[in-house]
Amino acid sequence: MPCERKPMRYDHSEGHTEVCFDDSGKFIVTCGNDGDVRIWESLDDDDPKFITVGEKAYSLALKKGKLVTASSNNTVQIHTFPDGDPDGILTRFTTHATHVAFNSSGSRVAAGSSDFMVKVVEVSDSSQQKTLRGHEAPVLSVTFDPKDDFLASASCDGSVVVWNIEEQTQVISWPLLQKTNDFSNAKSLCRLAWQPGTAKFLAVPVETKVHLYERGSWDHVSTLSDDLLTQPINVVAWSPCGKFLAAGSVGGSLNVWDVNSKLCVERQKHEKGFTVCSLAWHPSGSQIAYTDTEGCLGLLDGLSTSTSTTNTTKAPEKKPAEDYDALFDDDDDDRLMDEGLSDTNSPVKKPVAGDDDDDDDFLMPATGRVRNRGAILDDENSLDTGSLRLGQDKFGDDDDDTGSAVMPAAAPLVPLRPVYEGPLPSAPQKAFQPGSTPAHLTHRFMMWNSVGIVRGYNDEQDNAIDVEFHDTAVHHAMHLTNSLGHTMADLSQEAVLLACPSTDELASKLQCLHFSSWDTNKEWMVDLPKGEDARALCLGQGWVAVATSTLTLRLFSIGGLQREIFSLPGPVVCMVGHGEQLLIIYHRATGFDGEQALGVQLLQFGRRKRQLINGEPFPLSLKSYLSWLGFTAEGTPCYVDSEGVVRMLNRSLGNTWTPVCNTRETCKSKSDHYWVVGVHENPQQLRCIPCKGSRYPPTLPRPAVAILPFKLPLCQTTTEKGQMEEQLWRSVLFHNHYSFLSSSGYEIDEEGQSRSQKEQQELLMKMFALSCKLEREFRCVELAELMTQNVVTLAIRYASRSRRMALAQRLSEIALEKANQVQEEEPEEPEEEPEYSRRTSGYGQSEVTGGRCSNRRYQEEEEEQVEELGEEDDGQEMDTEEAAETRKRVNPFAKEAGSPVKPSLTPIGRVGRANPFKMLGAGKPSASSGQPRVTNILDNMTSSKKSAPLRSAGKPNKDPVLKPLAPRTKTKTQSTLLQMTGTKASSKKTQANAEPAAEQQKQPDVPPPASPADNTENKRPKTGFQLWLEENRKTIIADHPDLEETDVIKEAMGRFRTLSAEDRLSWTERAKGQTGDAADLKKRKRAEGEEGGGGRDVENENGRAEADENSAKKKKSLDPTSKLSAFAFNKS
C-alpha cells in the first residue's frame, strides 16, 4: 500500500496531544498541553483556528458538531464545532479525565478518569449518567461498542474490561497490561478500538502486538504483529471501513494491518522517533493523522484502502465496476452490484477466522468505496478528499459524467490534492501591509520596518496602538488609543500613518501623526469618500499614498495636501514607499492553480515624475503568494513570497527580478519561517525574525531580529568556481544601487563603492587565475572582458608568467580595446554612459585624472557657494535649477577619486572615524582626526539623553545606517556645507572670488585638490602628467587654438593616455625626482612612516585637511593595484 508521509509540523507545546478528523474530513482537530484545540484546514494551514478549553487538554472527541474535551479543571466540557462556543459541562470528576470517546451515533460520551471511574453520559441530557466502577487505578482509555451495548476500558491496574452499559456491570476482564500507578507513568496508553460497522472485533494493544477479541464470545481470536515492532504499541485505530487497523507505538512506528489477511500492509516511522500518542483515520480512509508527545502533527497521505483492496488481482474487475457505478444514479443498485461483485471474487476474505457470508455482507457496504461513490453522486459539494482521490483515479471517466459536477465546487478549497488538472482559478490574495501580522489577532504587529514597530492591541481591556522607534533619536515611543479601529499602519522617519476601514456610519479614515512637523499641529485626518475603503497605504519622504477599494490611488503630501489621484489597473495587494519611489503591487488578472497573477508599478515622484516599471507581470515562486514587499535601505525594490524566496530588482538588467536568497533553506523544520523586516544592501543583510512553527511572530515575548546572508541560487556553488561566481554577481547586483542613487542625485558612500569594485576586480582576478590553472583560456578571455584596464594588465602579466603567450596576446588586444574605449568616453557626458563602461573609465583614470577632476569640481562648488550666499533666500525654482546642475555635474571620476571636500566637511561616520589601535595602513589616513571623535561619542552618550548636545552629536552618527532612508540631495549637502564652513566662508569669500580666475590660469601647474584654506598648494608635488602637460601644452594649444582651458586638459589627458606605459612611468619618475627637491623632507618622512607601519601625522604644517586628502587619494589610487599585483605575484 503506497502512502506518502507528510513532514511533521509544530502543533502544540510538548506533552500529550490528541488528534481527530471532523465528520466531513475537512478539518484536522488537535488538542494538547497548551489547553488549545486547534482546527487545521490542512497540514499546511499556518493559521489554524483555535479554541481555548482550559489550561491543559487531555483528550478530545468530535462528532456532529460537538467537541468534547477533557481539560485540567477535572471537567468534561462541550464546545460547538467549528465555532468553538462553550456548550456546557458534561460531567465532572474528582481529578482530570484521561480519555473521552463518542459512541457511533454521537448520542453518548464515555469518559475515563484518573479517579478510577468511567462515566457514560447522554450528550443531550448530562444528568443521565451511568458510572462504571471497578477499576483499581486510573483509567487509560475507553471505547464504545458500535452497537452501543458494551463499553471497553483499559486501566493502569493492568486490566482491560468490557462493561455492559445498561447493567453497569463487568462482562469480562482481562489482565493484559503492566500495572502502573498513574496515567502519566503508563508504558502504553492502551487506546482500545472497536471495529466499526460490524463491531465484531475489539482491538487491544498489548505490548508490541495487537490482540483481537471477538464480540460475544470474548475469545482472543487473533493477534496482529510485526517483527519490526520493538516498542509497545500506544494507540490503535480502525479504518472507517473496518478492514484495516492502524497502530502507533512508543518508538514512533506506524503500522497498518489488513485485518483479514493479518498482514502488515504499511510501515512508517515517525521522522524523529517520538512517541505517537494519537491516531485518526480520515473518514474516507485515505489519510491517517497522528500526533506525538512532542506536540507535532503528522499525516500519512494516499492510503489506498478505499479504492483498491489489498488484492491486486481484483483491480481489473473493479475498474469496469466503477464505470458502471458511475452511470447508475441509484445507490441501491450500486450496492447490489457491489455486493454481487465482491461475493464473486472475495477469496481473500475467506481465510479470516470464523468468517461467514453474513459478515461479508456487513463488511462490504461499509467499505470506503461505496461511501465514496455516494459522496460523489449524492453530495456534490462535499470536499471529502477521499472522493477527490477517487475522482483522480478514474479521471478519464469522470471527465464525462461526474467530473463536471464535482469540479466547480471543489475548486478553490482543496489545497491538499487538486481534483482535476485543468486550470482552476485561485483565490486572489487579500491586500496587506508588508511587515504586519494578520488583522484578526488581538495582539498584532501593525508594522515592523526599519524605522520602528507599530503594535496593535485589541482585547477587552484595551484597544490601543503602540508606536516604538528602533532609534529613540527619531522620536520617543507613543501610545495611542485606537478609538477609530485602525487596522493599517505605516511608519517613517517623519510620520505615523494609520487607516481604518469604513463602518456603517463612519467613512474610512486616514490619520497621519506627522511628528516631525515643526509647527504645533502634529496630526491630520482625512475621510475617504463614501463607499471607498483604504486597502493599502504607505509613507514616502514627504508624501503619503493610499490605495482604496475603488482602484484609486490617492497621494497626499506629508502635511495633508491632496496632490495626485490616479486609477490603478487592478485591486491593490500592497504598496511601499521609499524616498521618492512608490512601488505598487496589484492583481493583474485571475491566477490559476494556486498562482497569483500580480502586476507591478514603480513610480518616481520628486522633480522628475515618471514611471519606472509600468505594470509588468510580477514573478512569484510557483503556487505562492506575496508575503513581504519593501525597499532595501538603499532604495532597491525587494520582495519575499510565501515560499521564502527573496527577490530584488536588478536595475542594470532592464528591471528584472533576481532571486537573492531563499529563507526556507535555513529553516530547521518545514513549518518554520522567517518573517522579513528589512533588507540592506551595504552591508548585505537580510533582517528577519525566525518564527518557530508559524509564518509570523507573536508580540510577546518580544521577538529578536536575526540576520541572514544573501546567496544567489547559481549552479554548483559548492565548487570554488561556483562560489566565486556567486560572490562576483552578488557583489555586482548589490552594487547597482550606487549608480541608481547617483543618477537620482543622492549622495553616495564612495568608499563603499570603490571597496566593492575592488572586491569585484579581485574576484575576477582570482577566477582568472583559477581558469588559467584549469587550462580554460577561452574562459580567461571572457573574464578579462569584465575586468578594468588595470586589472587586465595584471592578467596579462599573470598569463605571460605562466607561459601562455597566446592568451597574453589576446589579453593585450582586449587591453588596447579598453584603453580606446576609455578615451572615447572621456569627453562624453557621464549621464548617457552605460553603466559598466562608466565604471571602467572611472577606474582606469582615477589614478591620473582623479585629482584633476575633483579639482575642477571643487572649483565649481566653491563658486556655487558664493552664489548661494547671495541667493539663499530665493525660492524653489532656484533650487531645482541648481539641483539639475549638480546632477549633471556628478562625474564618474569624482566618484572614484572621492570628492576632496566631503571627508573634511561632512562627517560621514564611516570615513570620519577609524580605528586608532589598528596597525594596518588602511586605518591610517584619518586616524589623527578620528581619535578625538571616538572619545567624543562616548562622552556625549554619558550626558543625559534629553540634553540637546547629544541629539546634535547623535545626528552625524546616525548617518551611516539611516542615510539611505533620508538621503540628502546634493543641494542639501551644499547647504550644510555652507553652514559648517560658516566661519570659514566669510573669510574665504573674498578669497574665493579672487581665486577662480586666478586658478583658471594656474590650473595646469596647480596640483590637484587644493583646499581653499591652505595656501600651500604650490608646495604640492607635481604628478607625471603635470610635467608632461607643461611640456606638451604648447603643442596642444597649437593644434587646437580654440580650446577652453578645461578642454585643453581633457585633450592633454587623452594624449597622455596614449603614451606607452613605459613613457608614462618615466614621467612619473621624473615628477618624483623633481618634487623630491621641493617636498623632499616631507616625502621622506612619509615614506619612513609608512615603512614603520605606524601612524603618520607629520604634515601638520600643511594642515590636517590636506593630509587627509592626500592619503585618501593615495590610498585609492594605489591600494587596488598594489594589492592585486601582490596577489598576482603570489599566484605566479
Binding site: 529613540t472 515575548p701 577609524a914 580605528n915 589601535f917 554619558t942
Partner: protein, 186 residues
C-alpha cells in the same frame, strides 16, 4: 580575591543587546565593538550592556540559558548528581545577579530565574562544603573537583585554606609528642 573582582571579570562576558541608537564601530583596546544599528542585536561586553541599559540606550537580550525551563532542568540535574554538573556559563551567578539587578524588565520571569539560579548555587555550594568536609575527614592529600566556577572557588578558598593551615598546625603539633595530642583530648 574579592567577589567584586570576580564580578569584574564576569563583566567581560559578551551579551546580546538591541540598541536604540546608531553608532559606528567603536574601537577599544579590548577589541572592536559594534557597529550599533537601532533594532539590530549586537554582542557587547556586560559592562557596556549595563551601562547602556542604565542610560536607557538598549534592551538586553538574556543569554539562551537564562530561561526557566532550562534552569529547572539544570537544577534537577544538579540535585540528582553527586558530582558537579557543567554550568551554562562560567559566570552564571555573576551574570544572573548583574542582569537581573539592572535589566530585570528585559528578562521574562526574572523572579523565577533568580530563585532557580539561587537554588543551583545553593546546591553547588552545599556540595562544595560536603566535599571539603569529606576531604578533611578522610585526611586526603588532594582532591579533584570539576566544573567549578571562579565564584564558587572564591567563596570557599579563604575558609578552606585557613582552616587547612590551622589543622596542619594542630596536626604537626600533635605529631612529635603523642602526649600532647592526648592532652587535647581531655
Amino acid at each position: 580575591m574579592d567577589p567584586s573582582e570576580v564580578e569584574f571579570l564576569a563583566e567581560k562576558e559578551m551579551v546580546k543587546i538591541i540598541p536604540n541608537f546608531s553608532l559606528d564601530k567603536v574601537y577599544l583596546i579590548g577589541g572592536d565593538l559594534g557597529p550599533f544599528n537601532p533594532g539590530l542585536p549586537v554582542d557587547v561586553p556586560v559592562w557596556l550592556a549595563l551601562n547602556l541599559k542604565q542610560r536607557q540606550k538598549c534592551r538586553i537580550v538574556p543569554p539562551a540559558w537564562m530561561d526557566v525551563e532550562k534552569l529547572e532542568e539544570m537544577r534537577d540535574l544538579e540535585r540528582k548528581e553527586d558530582m558537579f554538573t557543567p554550568v551554562p556559563s562560567p559566570y552564571y551567578m555573576e551574570l544572573t545577579k548583574l542582569l537581573l539587578n539592572y535589566a530585570s524588565d528585559n528578562i521574562p520571569k526574572a523572579d523565577e530565574i533568580r530563585t532557580l539560579v539561587k537554588d543551583i548555587w545553593d546546591t553547588r555550594v552545599a556540595k562544595l562544603r560536603l566535599s571539603a568536609d569529606s576531604f578533611i575527614s578522610q585526611m586526603e592529600a588532594h582532591a579533584k573537583l570539576d566544573n567549578l566556577t571562579l565564584m564558587e572557588i572564591n567563596t570557599i578558598r579563604a575558609f578552606l585554606l585557613d582552616s587547612l593551615n590551622c589543622m596542619y598546625k594542630l596536626r604537626s603539633n600533635m605529631q612529635p609528642g603523642s602526649s600532647k595530642g592526648q592532652l587535647t583530648d581531655y
